[in-house]
Symmetry: C2
Subunit: 335 residues, 2 copies
């Protein structure tokens, strides 16, 4: 029996952001370390994985099942070590990844909501990114929601981000022509050269819509949507008949007024399918995902980059940087 | 061997309409009656079925596969009698329904594009409506595109129209709560009382969005979209999580500028699926459709009303009346 730790440091929601979150929306607080009940685990977090979905949950009535309340620990995935186990399948010392360990040193999680994260097989950042919720979101969207097929043209927005960078690479593995969209020359170079996409178009360039059209001379069969707004407006007229859109995120629209969407005449006349999805509806596919993505990762067909910072207190700044496009790959925090 | 008829009267596209079509966009012309080739049938049309899809095809680059050209016979379904057969499965005297016999006295059709229309089993108007393209469009949209399930709330726009009136009744047969949307008290009474929907909301009423919300206290699971514009805008905020939209038509948007669509944040946070479809992609289901709908029709579970006029020359006015909401049920022309 190990000593039960005493103090849990947590980053909690101090106030709801208006627009882009600011440091004062977050509070570093302390609380007693909770005890796990039957079927639960107490996990000491060693890494956090930050995700834009947390921004949606910081607003009231954002539509997701669980909006955070003021005082709640900020939503997010983690990797850590089991300290106390209330479930026979886990024991102290096991390495696990959580869906929502939250931004804190210690989390109590239901055993069925965590999975084993073998850190000899992949790094903690990989378990939070490619093999975690980001990677699985990309994989579910392409293989289950839009059912990407070899030979199709795939466009991925936020192609240098945690989900987009995996989605683009999956498209290549599946035999597609893949065009990324990202902001700035450095990200575009990363996407095209390091990730191996066929091209990456800079949406901050003045001729962006024309450049995208030139880069997709055969139109777009599948659009993996992370962004919304002007990026979507440029992709929309390029959609081919029977095209599909996986609506994974709308990061340009999380901070302000709702934008209207594009015309539906294209949906009608081109028989488009536009579909939103959320990872939690596909939890039963986790093992299939780990098997397939683990194979692609271990054979080097899909690679990872991380935006790493250190210390729980660094999480808010890293989160704000991610939401404003300052990151390449998965944003992780080492505790 | 019967005499080959000499003169074919046809309504052709004289000019492309701007906005709502006007009589001068149509011309009554004559041409020699064509001869059927191998695998083809010459059909003497006895009834025409008018459909809003013809309006889309009257514009250039509307996005559908086949825009009409100036001088083309106007697109539309027909019922008629085989006069000469170039296919062993059909003989002179057989009664058939066509997908696109067009607005003319005689049509040459590929044998595989027509089907038998037993007029002792159902009226010509039924073969053009409930058992024709209108009925099959409603059936495909609900049973194959959005996969309506018993217990769901279905909203149908243009609920008194040819497709909407069938879609609403299918929803009732399948065990759903069904709310129609139509314009004016007469149509709403028809939809609620004669067709047996649970309610019908008048979109010309000043409190339409509020009235619709009150009529759908549990939200909307499936929206069968025929209209677009302000009607869609009232339905959109009522969509439930995992809701689906079958985009069958956008009749309010066929005549002018493209409208923008509604926000995609709802698609994301509610995991909505919005899907356009076209009947021709489901041609292989025709026998399954005739079997199921024929059963519903012959047992009185689904009923038909028609808006009937007489004479080929009456078709343009009937078509304009249909596009401007003057019809109840399927618009047919007796030749």
């Amino acid at each position: 029996m190990i000593d039960h730790p005493a103090v849990n440091r947590r980053i909690t929601l101090a106030s709801r952001p208006q627009g882009v979150p600011a440091p004062e929306n977050f509070a570093l607080t302390q609380a007693p370390v909770p005890r796990p009940g039957a079927g639960q685990l107490l996990v000491r977090n060693t890494w956090l994985g930050l995700a834009p979905a947390a921004r949606l949950r910081m607003s009231e009535g954002g539509g997701y099942a669980e909006s955070m309340k003021i005082g709640d620990v900020i939503y997010g995935q983690s990797v850590g070590v089991v300290v106390e186990s209330g479930h026979p399948d886990f024991k102290a010392g096991d390495e696990v990844a959580t869906i929502n360990g939250g931004w804190q040193d210690y989390s109590v999680c239901d055993a069925q909501s965590v999975w084993r994260a073998d850190l000899s097989r992949a790094s903690a950042a990989a378990w939070l990114g490619i093999l975690g919720t980001s990677g699985m979101t990309a994989w579910v969207g392409l293989t289950r929601v839009v059912r990407l097929e070899a030979g199709e043209t795939l466009v991925v927005s936020a192609a240098a981000g945690a989900v987009g960078s995996v989605a683009g690479q999956i498209g290549k593995v599946l035999g597609c022509r893949v065009v990324g969209i990202a902001r700035g020359a450095e990200k575009c170079r990363y996407v095209a050269e390091e990730l191996g996409l066929d091209a990456c178009v800079d949406y901050s360039a003045s001729d962006f819509p024309d450049a995208l059209a030139r880069t997709c001379p055969d139109g777009v069969d599948v659009y993996y949507e992370n962004v919304g707004g002007a990026v979507r407006a440029a992709v929309w007229p390029l959609m081919n008949r029977d095209g599909r859109v996986a609506v994974c995120g709308l990061i340009s629209e999380y901070h302000g007024e709702l934008n209207g969407g594009p015309d539906w005449m294209s949906i009608l006349t081109k028989r488009l399918r536009v579909e939103g999805f959320i990872l939690s509806d596909f939890a039963g596919l986790r093992e299939a995902f780990i098997e397939e993505m683990g194979e692609w990762y271990s054979t080097g067909r899909i690679q990872a980059r991380e935006d790493r910072s250190s210390g729980l207190e660094s999480a808010p700044a890293a989160f704000i940087r991610m939401l404003t496009g300052g990151n390449l790959g998965k944003t992780v925090v080492r505790l």
